[in-house]
């Protein structure tokens, strides 16, 4: 048997967490460096996975070990073009967010262990192909994030942590009912075998009569996670209260569990219901785009501004998903990665500003660029990436989504395009207020980014540039899978995806 690389991706962070937990409590200076060092193991595995991943539809590196036949339960893992980029993103962001947590002094060991546990859970979510295993990881992720927000967050952390937990747990409980129903549906259809295996249920299909309610319960769980308007209210609280590492991972990968869920489960399993639900989700996505951006503009708090920009950006991903075109789906996948990189970087920068000035209020800043030019440069660069400036990664995703959705939802695409303009307004205006002008008081003596900070931002910056200039490196591995999803929806419903005239942009369907 080949080396079980996918299991290793889940197990190595767990082992790393255990190793860190076994370090002596007194040696606090060791905890973080050891954690960072160990978190490069899953990163190396993910890098290898990326290189070896072939640009094909279907699952690769699959592992299938039965756990309990009575329930048809199995340790079933696999990776395809939708999950591979997310695994890579997780593996990249964890060492970065750990490295950016030097200011954490309270219970460092527990902190590092929780971040690594979070990594294991998140990668598990993206790799699991058994619905129960998926659900286990989906819930497991809540625990470390709950602790990360609750212990190391700011003043209102307890409220934020509990709200985060209960909101998401509620969504997933209903999904569990859906999963049970799917397993029993399999049992009824096959005449006796209970199974929660994703591929088996996919092969069998879901009867059109039960598609709608199942779609709703799955969609509710994922919509809370994304979050889709109006289920987003936990997000600003969680983001603002979380420590920097928590915000980076929350925005970078945890929210993607929602968009991933739509792509992995809702579209392929409930195609008819997905087609029927397009109007609702498209409306909510567009509301999210415009509302998130509008609220971001008026935010006096820089971290909240970035948090609301997430609501807006995630709206694009939902719109792309429910555009039900190849381009829309590709865009949704790659926009997920882009958002993780650029918003992650922006949260890092907000964290650095907070460490130096102990405030997140935009009004308290001004003229930082004079004292910290490099930091200002990074902020501008990341803002451009987030806005979607051509040449940087954000452009690729938003462009694909807008092209893809224009074909099926023209009016929605047109309104959504305003989100790009609004993003320019809130980010550049924030930049102007924080970094330009004459510095006063403490702002004049703000230290510039250095050492580890430059390294973490630099890595993200390079990735942003690479994906902006040469998106094919990732897109060519995404496209076969997203095309297969659209084909599946087409083959099982009356829906036909329109041909989109493509310029040389997103790989090989031009």
């Amino acid at each position: 048997m080949d080396f079980p690389v996918l299991s290793a991706l889940i197990v190595t962070p767990l082992l790393a967490a255990i190793v860190v937990a076994l370090l002596p409590s007194k040696r606090t200076e060791l905890h973080l460096p050891v954690g960072v060092a160990l978190s490069t193991l899953p990163l190396a595995l993910a890098g290898w996975l990326f290189v070896e991943f072939e640009a094909l539809a279907g699952f690769q590196f699959s592992e299938l070990v039965p756990i309990y036949d009575g329930w048809g339960l199995s340790w079933h893992l696999g990776v395809d073009g939708i999950s591979m980029p997310l695994v890579l993103l997780t593996a990249v962001l964890v060492p970065i967010s750990l490295a950016a947590s030097g200011k954490i002094t309270d219970r460092t060991k527990l902190f590092v262990a929780m971040v690594l546990l979070l990594e294991a859970g998140t990668i598990g979510v993206f790799l699991a192909l058994d619905l129960i295993v998926f659900f286990v990881f989906f819930e497991l992720v809540l625990v470390p994030m709950y602790f990360i927000i609750g212990i190391w967050g700011s003043e209102n952390r307890i409220y934020a942590a509990v709200k985060f937990f209960l909101y998401t747990a509620f969504g997933s409980a209903l999904m569990l009912a859906g999963i049970i129903a799917l397993g029993i549906g399999h049992l009824t259809a096959t005449g006796g075998q209970l199974s929660f295996d994703y591929e088996k249920i996919l092969e069998l299909g879901v009867s059109s009569g039960s598609q709608m309610w199942l779609f709703v319960v799955f969609a509710l769980a994922f919509a809370i996670k994304v979050p889709i308007f109006p289920l987003h209210t936990w997000l600003p609280d969680a983001h603002v209260q979380a420590p920097t590492a928590g915000s980076v991972l929350l925005a970078g990968v945890l929210l993607k569990m929602g968009t991933y869920g739509f792509l992995r489960f809702n579209l392929p399993l409930f195609p008819q219901a997905s087609v029927d639900a397009v109007p609702v989700l498209a409306v909510l996505a567009v509301i999210g785009i415009v509302y998130g951006a509008a609220v971001a503009i008026v935010q006096p708090d820089l971290k909240k501004l970035v948090a609301y920009s997430s609501v807006s950006h995630l709206g694009f991903i939902v719109l792309g998903t429910f555009a039900l075109t190849s381009q829309g789906l590709e865009g949704a996948v790659i926009q997920g990665i882009n958002h993780g990189l650029s918003t992650g970087a922006l949260f890092l920068l907000v964290g650095m500003l907070y460490e130096r000035r102990h405030t997140k209020q935009i009004a308290d800043f001004g003229g930082i660029a004079k004292a910290a030019p490099l930091m200002a440069g990074f902020f501008l660069f990341m803002s451009f990436a987030s806005i979607g400036l051509p040449g940087l990664n954000g452009f690729v995703g938003e462009f694909l989504i807008l092209i893809g959705s224009y074909a099926t939802l023209p009016w929605f695409a047109i309104i959504s395009a305003s989100g790009v303009i609004l993003a320019a307004i809130y980010l550049l205006w924030a930049y102007q207020r924080v970094f330009t002008g004459e510095p006063e008081g403490d702002n004049a003596t703000v230290a510039d980014v250095r050492g580890v900070e430059v390294a973490t931002l630099g890595v993200l910056g390079v990735l942003i540039l690479v994906l902006g200039l040469y998106p094919q490196v990732l897109l060519e591995k995404i496209t076969p899978t997203t095309d297969a999803v659209i084909e599946r929806v087409e083959s099982l419903t009356d829906y036909e995806a329109p041909e989109v005239l493509m310029i040389e942009m997103g790989g090989d369907h031009g």
Partner: protein, 496 residues
């Protein structure tokens, strides 16, 4: 089953004999030599080990040769003493649960036993006697045997609840437990009497045969049957603390000495659920349409009431008591479904739940003092800093009670819910799912206090025995959460 003499079987009562012998020895040795407590520890350990050995002997007895011709379970059940005691894989499983709780409960109660001084030996003997009663209860094949086991166990527990005279609350708890428990026993007994009037038999097998022979003809099924079954079940719902028969539980668990509440609550629950399952599947299987709907109703009410009341409590033991009401509801979801799958789910649920419950009460006892009455939540503020081990253990146990994945609590809920959904109780599953999310509110509150709130928690000293027991429970809880297959397969073998 033939003559009384023909069905005598020592193996069938070996564990009970070991426990009762242990209890007698503890008492005799105590009055004769007034020895060090360590002697009692050795006696109790030997007695519990003897009970475990007896279980093993029973297992080997009913599975003499896997190749042989055996019943549907591949086993040769023992029907001893004219069907009074039935030893089959199912009863051995629940007996193992009782013995395990006895072992864990004694370890956690040790500090209380030491504190009780000369009365410690009595407490220890009561624990062993109670367990022997509960052992009989789960393998009863006759309603009188069931009643005797229930009373031997319950009366011992009433005394244990009031064994410490340091707090008035303890006496109050014992009195309340005694009065309400006796009423429940009386109701149960009345049901048994009615059933006997109607059927002329008190054995499970005889009752089952009689009821099945009636068939579906309504005219042959007078109201006496629903009445009898109803009274019997109400008696038991009282014992497991299902709503609306739960009012005693919070006061008793709060008032009784902290060291013993874990044993009290856990052992009663595993034994009562074992007995209810057997009643549902053997004597009352022909009346399934009579008890199914009411039981489902009680399950829904318990889940909702337990969760809602637990949210507003400010004492951890009251929270655990109300969460116990909710858990009784989850268990009854499986019992009410009445399929083999749901019985398996209930078995896994109750066996994993009670060890978590016992350990949680054990840590609570360590935090608030062995003989204390009441465990206010405020004492847990900042516990993660003063006693990281206790806080971490309690957190895992809370998450397990909440049914968080990667703990046995999730597997248990999943098993019961899947079986119930399959059995047509979708509405009940939805109610239970929503309640389990709401329940996070109070389980998380404990974690919030221990980890998120600033404060100086108490320095908790955990004895070596407590540490080992807690570690074993945690390993089992997470181990069975990650890889539940061994226990699930064992249960599959027991419930065919």
């Amino acid at each position: 089953m033939g003559e009384l003499g023909a069905s005598v079987s020592l193996v069938a009562i070996l564990p009970e004999v070991a426990l009762v012998l242990g209890a007698v020895l503890v008492l005799l040795v105590d009055v004769t030599w007034k020895p060090d407590l360590r002697v009692h520890a050795i006696l109790a350990a030997a007695s519990i080990a003897g009970a475990a050995g007896g279980l093993l002997a029973q297992w080997l007895e009913i599975y003499p040769d896997t190749e042989g011709i055996a019943g549907a379970q591949g086993a040769f059940p023992i029907f001893a003493y004219s069907d009074m005691v039935v030893i089959d894989p199912e009863s051995i499983l629940f007996r193992a649960g009782v013995v395990a709780i006895t072992a864990i409960g004694t370890v956690f109660a040790w500090r209380l036993i030491r504190r009780l001084g000369r009365k410690g030996a009595e407490a220890l003997a009561l624990v062993l006697i109670a367990s022997s009663g509960f052992l009989f209860m789960v393998s009863a094949g006759h309603f009188m045997m069931l009643f005797l086991g229930l009373e031997v166990g319950s009366i011992s527990l009433y005394v244990l609840a009031g064994i410490s005279n340091e707090h008035k609350e303890s006496d109050e708890a014992a009195m309340k437990y005694f009065l309400l428990g006796s009423v429940a026993s009386a109701i149960f007994l009345y049901g048994v009497a009615l059933l006997y009037t109607a059927t002329g038999t008190m054995t499970y097998a005889g009752t089952r045969g009689f009821l099945l022979s009636l068939g579906d003809q309504i005219v042959f099924r007078p109201a006496i049957f629903p009445l009898a079954v109803g009274l019997i079940l109400v008696g038991f719902l009282f014992k497991i603390g299902a709503a609306p028969f739960h009012a005693w539980a919070p006061d008793v668990y709060q008032g009784a000495p902290a060291g013993i509440t874990g044993y009290m609550s856990a052992v009663a629950k595993v034994a009562a659920i074992g007995a209810i399952l057997r009643m549902a599947f053997v004597p009352f299987s022909g009346l399934v349409d009579t008890w199914q709907a009411p039981l489902a109703g009680v399950a829904a009410v318990s889940v909702v009431v337990g969760t809602l009341y637990a949210v507003v409590q400010s004492d951890l033991r009251r929270i655990l008591a109300y969460s116990g009401v909710a858990h009784a509801g989850f268990l009854l979801v499986g019992v009410a479904t009445g399929t083999t799958g749901s019985a398996r789910g209930v078995a896994f649920y109750v066996l994993t739940y009670v060890i978590v419950l016992a350990a949680a009460f054990g840590i609570v006892g360590a935090v608030s003092g062995a003989s204390s009455s009441g465990s206010p939540l405020d004492a847990y503020r900042g516990l993660s800093k003063s006693s990281p081990g206790a806080a971490a253990s309690l957190s895992v146990l809370m998450l397990a009670l909440a049914g968080m994945p990667v703990t046995s609590g999730f597997v248990a809920k999943f098993g019961v819910f899947t079986a119930a959904w399959r059995g047509g109780f979708q509405w009940l599953v939805l109610v239970a799912l929503v309640a389990s999310v709401a329940a996070f509110a109070f389980y998380l509150r404990v974690i919030v206090l221990m980890y998120f709130e600033e404060g100086d928690g108490p320095e908790v000293e955990l004895s070596l025995g407590t540490r080992i027991s807690t570690a074993v429970v945690l390993i089992l809880t997470i181990g069975l959460g990650v890889y539940p297959t061994p226990l699930l397969e064992l249960i599959d073998r027991a419930f065919f």
